[in-house]
């Protein structure tokens, strides 16, 4: 899910940087100071989750947990993911500093969108909560893969075949991610619902 340095064209890199800067700014502005520790811990979870690889399909795919961050943090997931991506580039050489903008938007954008759209379902019954968890995990990765294919397409790397390949290779991990997000969400709703703050609207 991390695009390497030196692949994308300059306009794509610039566009990604602008979008990510804007998203991070909004996220920081909306961030409730009382939730800083939650943001940081979930950022750490995201940082580590990318190391868990799912050895299925032709590529090399790993967990993201973007949907979980989006559900819990709303806009706050944006800075959480961007900071974690920056550290991944530094420590693991995943992605890179110059492509941070594009990778950040590819991963954080869908995470925030899915989180905000699905959050209202959490105040429903157990079935609705499970649905919210699964769909958040599945869809955030689906749209991230789609954005990644778009970024490659805009840099002249062909679209249909690449998009097909990326989506196909990420399909198993999307399902796994959906299941994990579903279990974590239902578990948290049972033991510590205030983390997900159901009923309140994500700012």
């Amino acid at each position: 899910m991390h695009i390497s340095e030196g692949i994308l064209s300059t306009p794509v890199l610039a566009g990604g940087a602008v979008l990510t800067a804007a998203g991070t700014a909004v996220g920081l502005k909306k961030l409730d100071y009382d939730r800083i520790m939650t943001v940081s811990l979930l950022s750490a979870t995201f940082f580590v989750a990318s190391l868990i690889h799912v050895p299925i399909g032709p590529g090399s795919v790993h967990l993201l947990l973007g949907g979980l961050l989006g559900l819990i943090l709303g806009w706050g997931a944006f800075p959480a993911i961007v900071v974690a991506l920056f550290l991944q580039a530094l420590f693991f050489q995943y992605g890179g500093i110059i492509v941070l903008g594009v990778n950040g938007f590819n991963i954080a954008g869908p995470a925030v969108l899915c989180g905000i759209l699905l959050h209202p379902l959490l105040s429903g019954n157990r079935k609705k909560q499970m649905t919210a968890g699964f769909v958040a995990g599945f869809c955030s990765m689906f749209f991230s893969a789609l954005l990644m294919a778009t970024a490659l397409f805009l840099s002249d790397h062909g679209f249909l075949d690449v998009a097909g390949l990326i989506l196909a290779s990420h399909l198993p991990v999307m399902v796994i991610e959906g299941l994990i997000t579903m279990f974590v969400v239902t578990f948290l709703m049972r033991v510590q619902p205030e983390i997900l703050s159901p009923g309140k609207q994500h700012k």
Partner: protein
């Protein structure tokens, strides 16, 4: 506070379960390695030591000018071989080999001219004393290959013998994220949170925290 402790436990469990299965912690980037044997350069690309990058696009460029000399596609084992272009030999080009995967992964490996051009190797110094006195060894000299031939034979032999060693050296260089990287990253993130909290509460020391 309770929330914090539970979240901490959750992330600790996640990271420790990960550390217990280091074989799953494969780097998510591609590794490129190329070695010279005779007139051929073989390029190998993999996600890790065990998962080859299938059908990656290989581009060979002159490092100085950036001219593309040739390009091709790796096989399903991630291997691509090509004969060294005559132009590269003539101009003693350092070859920059780039392998691009279909999913936006890319990495490079440099083959310096010295690796495939014997004349660019540090010149072998043959001191006068080591040359055997022709009169003493006249008997055997005729049956031995001369210096130049011997040198070439040895070079070929070394290249063949050293290729697998070079390969495993390159694989050993492959740096997997270790315990320190993971803990360091988590430490940074917690530190950032502390910094943000400090900045927030330093601004208004008298007013009660919200």
């Amino acid at each position: 506070m309770n929330t914090l402790i539970r979240l901490l436990t959750l992330s600790f469990l996640l990271s420790s379960s990960l550390l217990l299965h280091p074989q799953q912690a494969l780097a998510h980037k591609i590794h490129v390695f190329a070695w010279v044997s005779g007139n051929t350069i073989t390029v190998e690309a993999s996600f890790s030591a065990r998962r080859p990058l299938m059908h990656g696009t290989v581009t060979v460029k002159d490092k100085k000018s950036g001219t593309v000399l040739l390009s091709g596609q790796g096989n399903e084992k991630g291997i691509f071989s090509f004969p060294i272009p005559a132009k590269a030999r003539q101009e003693a080009m350092d070859l920059l080999i780039t392998v691009t995967g279909s999913e936006g992964h890319q990495n490079q490996w440099l083959v310096p001219a010295a690796e495939y051009l014997p004349e660019h190797l540090p010149a072998a110094t043959v001191s006068e004393e080591t040359i055997p006195d022709s009169s003493k060894t006249a008997r055997t000299v005729s049956s031995l290959p001369d210096n130049q031939e011997l040198k070439q034979m040895l070079e070929e032999l070394f290249k063949q013998e050293l290729a697998p060693i070079k390969r495993s050296l390159a694989l050993a260089e492959e740096r997997k994220p270790g315990f320190l990287d993971i803990m360091g990253g988590i430490g940074y993130l917690l530190g950032l949170a502390g910094l943000a909290a400090w900045l927030r509460y330093r601004r208004a020391p008298d007013s009660p925290a919200k």
